[in-house]
Amino acid sequence: MKESTEPKPLKSAKKPWVDIDDIKVLMDLIKETEVSELEIEKGGVRVRIKKSATPTVSGLRKIQDKVSATLSASSAVQSPAHQASEAGEDKYYTVSSPIVGTFYRASSPDKEPYVNVGDVVKKGQILCIVEAMKLMNEIESEMDGKIVEVLVQDSQPVEYGEALFKIDPVS
């Protein structure tokens, strides 16, 4: 379970790990080039910036959130299996939990799982539910692809940022 009980503001107003201006510079940089993704490491903090097809107003905030997600994921205790797969299979996309909660593979205990290993999934297809305080969070696939690995067992607690699935994207 998560140890931090500090008050969390609604919007990401945490002290930035990387100067916000640095991120802006990077964003401008990437905007002018053909590069679609950029990852840098500075003082133990990794920032990945990805160019989206349609620019959004909340783009900057998303990046801030992404920074916090990366940090939290790297500080969480990870299973050896998870670490190994991260090292060797970079081409796979990892679906992570957006909340602290309980992981469910089906909509109810007597139903079939939403997805199994080997299933081909479409962007927007529901992969699982993570529940926190009776808030049932449907997690969708963000891409077309194939389920390579299910990393958490049904009805198990998951941390924020914990890896749930590995997907082989359709290229």
Partner: protein
């Protein structure tokens, strides 16, 4: 799945607005843009649904009594909200109001949409459980929201919903409605309302959230099934008289709306305080069924994410984010 007839609603609005005066068939015909014969047909239809409308050939129609029917027009007229309830759809019967609101969310409907049904065929509970949803007596309400904070903080919406329901019940009936962690509403330790929130989100962004609320309003004791998971009651059973569903609904939507606004302005902390004030689980001995284990202890506090901090031994606490809680004292 039949949407409540719009012409019927218009007729009722005109009749209600004229208070105690008669409205002629010609006036109704002009105002609504249908023939006088059609007006007569609709009046007959309304009468068969329980509206008491008197008519005289020389003076026209007058509304005497409205049945306990959740008409969209009645609801919108009495409501004072900024976001929630700007759009309200009312159904006689649906599978689940949450399912409809989730579909509307996927289709891009604006936040604040409220879906109401007079009865549900498959009222949804947690993990495929059912919510008993008979016709004409209770409230089944689903609210579509698109909050701008990250999914990690979404559990505050569950707190917001339970605070709003408890407040609306207390305001409307004077009953002491309390929250059992995380979001059951109890009166005298009996469940009167359940809340099921469903969310569609990416890692960093909420697409949409649907807050589903079921309240047992005028349901009779003998209509509760015998195999419920915990003791249940209705407002009527606890109060000893019927409660106006529309009035309760207005109060609920207004309470939800002002709490949602407050959440945006003041942040999570104020909502957590309000939740604590209304919560009956804190400082009690509890038993919690988690997937694969059962723990007992004293519920000490809640975290900012809404987790329950349970003291399970000397110097040993556990934070719980899901599970079924039973109060032991």
């Amino acid at each position: 799945m039949k949407q409540t007839n719009q012409i019927d609603d218009l007729i009722i609005t005109v009749l209600k607005n004229s208070k105690d005066a008669f409205v002629s068939g010609q006036t109704l015909s002009n105002r609504i843009g249908i023939t006088r014969a059609a007006v007569w047909k609709h009046i007959e239809g309304l009468r068969s649904e329980g509206y008491i409308i008197v008519s005289t050939p020389s003076r026209g129609y007058k509304l005497i009594e409205t049945p306990d029917r959740l008409s969209a027009v009645g609801i919108k007229q009495g409501i004072k909200t900024r976001v929630i309830g700007k759009e309200i759809v009312v159904f006689d019967e649906v599978n689940s109001t949450n399912d409809i609101a989730m579909e509307k969310g996927a289709q891009g409907e604006k936040e604040g949409l409220v879906v109401i049904a007079d009865s549900q065929l498959h009222g949804k509970g947690r993990l495929g459980r059912t919510w008993i949803s008979p016709k004409g007596v209770n409230l089944y309400v689903s609210i579509l929201l698109r909050p701008e904070f990250p999914p990690l903080q979404a559990s505050v919406l569950t707190m917001m919903a339970s605070v709003s329901v408890a407040t609306a019940i207390s305001k409307t009936t004077g009953l002491d409605a309390r929250i059992k962690w995380p979001n059951d509403i109890l009166i005298d330790q009996k469940k009167v309302s359940g809340i099921l929130t469903e969310m569609n989100a990416e890692e960093e962004r909420i697409h949409y959230v649907v807050i589903g609320v079921g309240i047992n309003v005028n349901m009779k004791k003998e209509d509760f099934p015998g195999d419920l998971r915990m003791p249940a009651t209705s407002l009527m059973e606890s109060l000893g008289r019927r409660v106006d569903r529309t009035e309760l609904l207005y109060t609920l939507l207004e309470s939800m709306d002002s709490n949602y606004e407050g959440l945006k302005m003041k942040g999570i902390v104020s909502m957590v305080q309000e939740w604590r004030r209304l919560c009956s689980t804190l400082h009690k001995r509890v038993r919690i069924s988690l997937p694969g284990e059962v723990i007992t202890g004293v519920a000490e506090d809640i975290t900012q994410e809404g987790g329950l901090v349970v003291r399970i031994g000397e110097g040993l606490t556990k934070k719980v984010y899901a599970g079924d809680v039973t109060l032991l004292e």
